[in-house]
């Protein structure tokens, strides 16, 4: 294999009481490959993310990141390793400004969590880095607004900005374009492509917007009722009758139109 495996998941299961939200899911994500996870509502996508990102413990199975067993490793340690996630439900620091929302993770990354004798505003390097990220997302103009006053779509972008600030190697994006308009969605797709091409970041995306999925993903995994239903290139998935039946329905034709 030319591309080493970044994330490897081995027969992962998770149940809530009697309910089996994930059963026996195994998959591999090679470095640098854009992958997507799709599946009907309640298929277990978010649960899968929660388990991989250390928020939930799996009931069974293991997760390897760059060859290391990270099963049950707490989230903040995973971040140090370079495994990040965004949240389906917007999860940011509401009363802080846009800039501060990015500065906070940057300060963590630079090991300055405990730097209490330095003045924050004099940390030129930090601020510049933050502004660069905001620039990339088109938020630089709003850097001094409190994020709680932003529109929903912009809040979603903050979510991404926070993730980027953490210098990730693998990013799990949970419905990154939900709530965005087509233009912004377009920008998001471009952003993902651009980041994937020019940085060391590998993206793993869940989406219900098939346009995004098919234009972004090189490999698609389909989850259904907690099980891996199919995996393959977009063409293979599109052609897969089981997937069409369980998930896509007639929408593809609509998308093509």
């Amino acid at each position: 294999m030319s591309t080493p495996i970044l994330l490897q998941v081995e027969s992962l299961s998770r149940s809530f009481g009697k309910f089996q939200a994930l059963s026996d899911v195994s998959l591999e994500i090679p470095r640098g490959r854009l992958c997507a996870l799709i599946g009907p509502n309640g298929a277990g996508k978010t649960t899968f993310y929660n388990v991989v990102s250390g928020r939930y413990r799996p009931t069974r199975g293991r997760v390897f990141f760059e060859g290391r067993d990270i099963t049950g490793v707490p989230p903040h340690k995973l971040v140090k390793l370079g495994l990040l996630r965004s949240f389906q439900i917007t999860n940011i620091f509401p009363a802080l400004t846009v800039l501060e929302n990015v500065l906070a993770p940057l300060a963590v990354m630079h090991g300055m969590s405990f730097a209490f004798w330095r003045s924050l505003s004099s940390q030129q390097k930090l601020v510049e880095e933050a502004l660069t990220i905001l620039e990339r997302l088109g938020l630089a103009g709003q850097s001094h607004r409190e994020v709680s006053t932003l529109a929903y779509g912009d809040k979603r972008l903050i979510e991404i900005a926070i993730v980027l600030a953490c210098r990730p190697r693998l990013v799990l994006l949970d419905e990154p374009t939900a709530g965005m308009n087509p233009e912004e969605t377009e920008r998001m797709i471009r952003l993902i492509h651009e980041l994937a091409a020019h940085s060391e970041i590998t993206f793993f995306v869940t989406e219900h917007d098939m346009k995004v999925v098919f234009s972004v993903a090189q490999t698609i995994f389909v989850l259904n009722q907690g099980r891996l239903l199919a995996q393959g290139t977009p063409e293979e998935i599109r052609a897969n009758p089981a997937v069409r039946q369980a998930y896509l329905g007639g929408s593809l034709d609509a998308e093509r139109a």
């Binding site: 809530f16 309910f19 799709i38 599946g39 009907p40 509502n41 309640g42 298929a43 996508k45 978010t46 389906q88 439900i89 006053t149 932003l150 529109a151 929903y152 779509g153 912009d154 419905e175 939900a178 709530g179 965005m180 308009n181 087509p182 233009e183 912004e184 219900h208 098939m210 369980a246 998930y247 896509l248 329905g249 007639g250 929408s251 593809l252 609509a254």
Partner: protein, 232 residues
């Protein structure tokens, strides 16, 4: 049925709605289109009074409801499905529906729990699960169902297909079309394509101002509006 006149609303100092006027007649689906941050949600919230408008008037079936408590407008027959769903996390699916149930008006075909479960078979399977544990899409279903059991005369739907799988969106389209037979709907959407397949008429809002108003055909045909305000 619903008529909104010159609505102005603020968040703190920011003037978010700058005189929005619109109408919804019985038996129609009217969509409110606009990119994000345009003020769609705020309009819907302003109609109900969740965000109290500073000036302007909202009339429902000829009665002015501006400035009334939210629950009064709801009891008069308005219902809102908020964009962030806001399911009661600690209550089971069934309980979520029970607390929202209001008696049907005479002559109305009542939305009973049975009818809800028939319409949304998914929910009937999840009856006893806690609302907070539902997946995003399941919650969206529940949010719509919860609005329906209030037996509204008019439904305000805020971006209902966000986060739904394509099959479910299709399904939802059918449900909305069904509901429309009985209940007029004001539908806020960014996804103009989805909205326009369902609606009879539409408004386009941008920066808190209604920029365009027209029938489905007019909206579909007006390239300028589409590119300027909807970025289609």
């Amino acid at each position: 049925m619903l008529s909104v006149r010159e609505l102005h609303a603020y968040y703190g100092d920011s003037h978010v709605l700058q005189g929005v006027s619109l109408e919804v007649g019985s038996g129609e689906i009217v969509c409110l289109l606009g990119r994000n941050g345009a003020g769609k949600s705020t309009t819907l919230k302003g109609i109900l009074g969740v965000v109290p408008p500073r000036s302007g008037g909202v009339f429902f079936n000829g009665v002015e409801i501006t400035g009334r408590p939210v629950y009064e407008s709801v009891r008069l027959g308005l219902a809102l499905v908020p964009e962030d769903r806001r399911i009661f996390a600690g209550l089971s699916v069934q309980e979520n529906l029970e607390v929202a149930a209001l008696p049907a008006r005479p002559g109305q075909k009542a939305w009973t729990l049975e009818r809800i479960y028939d319409t949304f078979p998914l929910l009937s399977r999840l009856k006893h699960r806690k609302g907070g544990n539902l997946s995003g899409g399941e919650q969206q279903m529940l949010a719509i169902a919860r609005a329906l059991v209030g037996n509204p005369l008019l439904l305000l739907l805020d971006e209902p297909c966000e986060g739904l799988a394509p099959v479910i969106v299709e399904e939802l389209g059918r449900v909305i079309a069904d509901i429309k037979q009985e209940i007029p709907i004001l539908l806020s959407e960014q996804n103009a394509r989805f909205a326009l397949t369902l609606s009879d008429r539409g408004y386009v809002i941008d920066k808190g101002v209604i920029r365009f108003e027209g029938t489905r055909r007019e909206l579909l045909e007006n390239r300028e509006v589409q590119s300027r305000y909807l970025s289609v």
